[in-house]
């Protein structure tokens, strides 16, 4: 087997190249993010979490939702080390992570992680939210090694 690659620091993708769009189901999540508050869509009837936010609870079909304040911490469920900025193809080390959110069982976010070398990211690593300003005044939750 070949030796693991040493990539160096894991960087966040620059916020000025990132756009999102919203709809009435997802907007409360992004409005909370704008205020640097991490939340997730929770069924107000049965308590089931679902992400991305969607119009019905897949467990009980209720349309009532809560947006609880989450601790803003989580655990890396899986990841990939990427080496080109998708906006321009230039060399750029970033690590997309799938994060299990503390306080919201079953809900995950896909984001970047920073605060460590890319080769040191691992499944089970604890992370905490790091806010990144993106286009149109929105704010994106990323993560930093806890």
């Amino acid at each position: 087997m070949s030796e693991p690659i040493l990539y160096g620091p894991a960087k966040l993708l620059p916020g000025d190249q990132i756009r999102i769009s919203t709809n009435p189901n997802t907007e409360p999540f992004w409005e909370a993010a704008k205020a640097h508050k991490l939340t997730a869509c929770q069924c107000a009837k049965c308590g089931h979490f679902r992400m991305p936010p969607s119009p019905y609870c897949p467990e009980c079909s209720s349309q009532e939702v809560n947006w609880p304040a989450l601790p803003g911490t989580g655990t890396v469920f899986s990841y990939v080390v990427c080496n080109k900025n998708p906006a321009n193809g230039e060399d750029y080390i970033y690590v997309p992570v799938v994060v299990d959110l503390d306080g919201a069982p079953g809900a995950r976010l896909n984001a970047n992680v920073t605060g460590c070398n890319a080769e040191d990211v691992h499944i089970g690593m604890k992370v905490s939210v790091e806010w990144t300003s993106i286009q149109d005044g929105w704010v994106l939750p990323n993560f930093r090694k806890a």
Partner: protein
């Protein structure tokens, strides 16, 4: 309980263009290539283009991912007088072999007599599949994925592969063996894009595109078209070749897989899987067969780890044992014995999407047909059953068992 439509229909014609490296098919047009594939499939079946009266598409009738097939345009181009069945499976390449089940539905409902299933693919610079996710303006749903920089299918697949490595100790050596073992099947195939044998040193030197996956773990990017014709068994007997009998076919999947790597919410053990368990269980129930009964397996290989995970989901080995199964040489084809190696079932005797060509799964159907006809270039001796699977992706995924007549 056997499937009600077991052995009632058959694939009787296959047709394909040359396979071009991405972008090299220009100045041919996509309908030019689709037409060639359909006309060749008719000739192979021994029927007239005027006999075609049905279309069963997959991938939401996409031709590639941005062009669309349209039955009326195909009639206008090719001159079929009447069409009495025109339908598609939804989503993407996962539905490829499932389209034969859709064709069977049309045939058994007596809607139509000869059904075309096809794919044509032309990746001009603005249509490149590898950046399809990134090029799209993010929808509200995709705004929960794309900002992370997961923009290409290879990025997405790597996240699943990484989880599989974590849970089961799966190694990159196994991914390499999948590429090398199937590359070994293309040296004698005139149309294959990659024919040179591949060494482990060459694999290890391949550029790391999305760690843990290297360039050679990614499938080819190909232009070209492939069409197949399905008809009823009574009509199949009058066609030119031995029918490739549709023995079982299923599409679908379960909620835990859902949108899969466009979502990333799959719980274990579904996350580190191919999402095929539900469909695999259906075709085994339909047929009363299991993986060990297959003579050859044509497994959708857009990315090498997905072959390993399908081997597990179809039961060629236990969940989590794909690494050892592959590294024991069990997916290899032995030309000397015209059979498997070390008790395994030969996989992708045509070289697959990784080595021969990538026409979103159709080449796997063609190889399945040729194997049960007994006319494959890398023929498995006395092949009776061939498994064909569709791409692990957003539901539906699908699979097909072809049987020799």
């Amino acid at each position: 309980m056997p499937w009600a439509n077991q052995d009632k229909t058959a694939i009787v014609g296959v047709g394909a263009t040359d396979y071009y490296v991405r972008g090299k098919s220009w100045p041919r047009t996509i309908n030019d290539m689709a037409g060639e594939a359909i006309l060749k499939a008719c000739a192979d079946a021994g029927i007239s283009i005027k006999d075609i009266d049905g279309f069963a598409y997959y991938s939401t009738a996409g031709a590639g991912y941005l062009d669309k097939f349209d039955t009326a345009s195909l009639m206008e181009t090719l001159g079929m007088p009447n069409i009495s069945f025109s339908a598609t499976l939804t989503s993407g390449g996962g539905g490829c072999p499932g389209a034969i089940g859709l064709a069977t539905a049309g045939l058994m409902n007596e809607d139509c007599k000869y059904v075309v299933t096809l794919m044509a693919l032309q990746q001009l610079p603005q249509h490149r599949l590898g950046v399809v996710f990134g090029a799209a303006a993010p929808s509200p749903e995709n705004s929960f994925l794309q900002p992370s920089g997961l923009v290409g299918p290879g990025h997405l697949m790597s996240v699943l592969a990484r989880r599989h490595m974590h849970l089961y100790g799966t190694t990159q050596d196994a991914f390499g063996e999948i590429v090398m073992a199937t590359r070994a099947n293309t040296h004698n195939r005139p149309k294959a894009v990659r024919k040179a044998p591949l060494t482990k040193e060459e694999y290890d030197a391949s550029v790391m595109l999305a760690d843990p996956l290297r360039r050679l773990d990614f499938c080819l990017e190909t232009d070209g078209a492939v069409a197949v014709i399905t008809t009823t068994m009574d009509r199949a007997k009058d066609c030119r070749h031995k029918p490739a009998v549709v023995h079982a076919c299923a599409h679908g999947g379960q909620r835990e897989w859902g949108r899969a790597f466009a979502w990333m919410g799959m719980p274990d053990p579904h996350f580190a899987s191919s999402g095929h368990k539900f469909t695999a269980d259906r075709i085994w129930a339909q047929s009363g067969l299991s993986a060990k009964d297959m003579d050859v397996a044509l497994i959708y290989d857009h990315f090498s780890p997905m072959v390993l995970m399908q081997l597990e989901d179809y039961g060629f080995c236990e969940k989590g044992e794909g690494n050892d199964y592959v590294l024991a040489g069990k997916i290899r084809y032995d030309a000397a014995t015209q059979g498997g190696v070390n008790g395994g079932v030969p996989v992708n005797t045509h070289g697959g999407n990784l080595n021969e060509a990538y026409i979103i799964g159709m080449t796997h159907i063609v190889e399945g047909v040729e194997q049960v006809r007994g006319t494959a270039i890398n023929q498995v001796k006395d092949a009776e059953f061939a498994l064909v699977s569709g791409g692990p992706a957003s539901l539906p995924v699908s699979s097909l068992i072809l049987r020799s007549a």
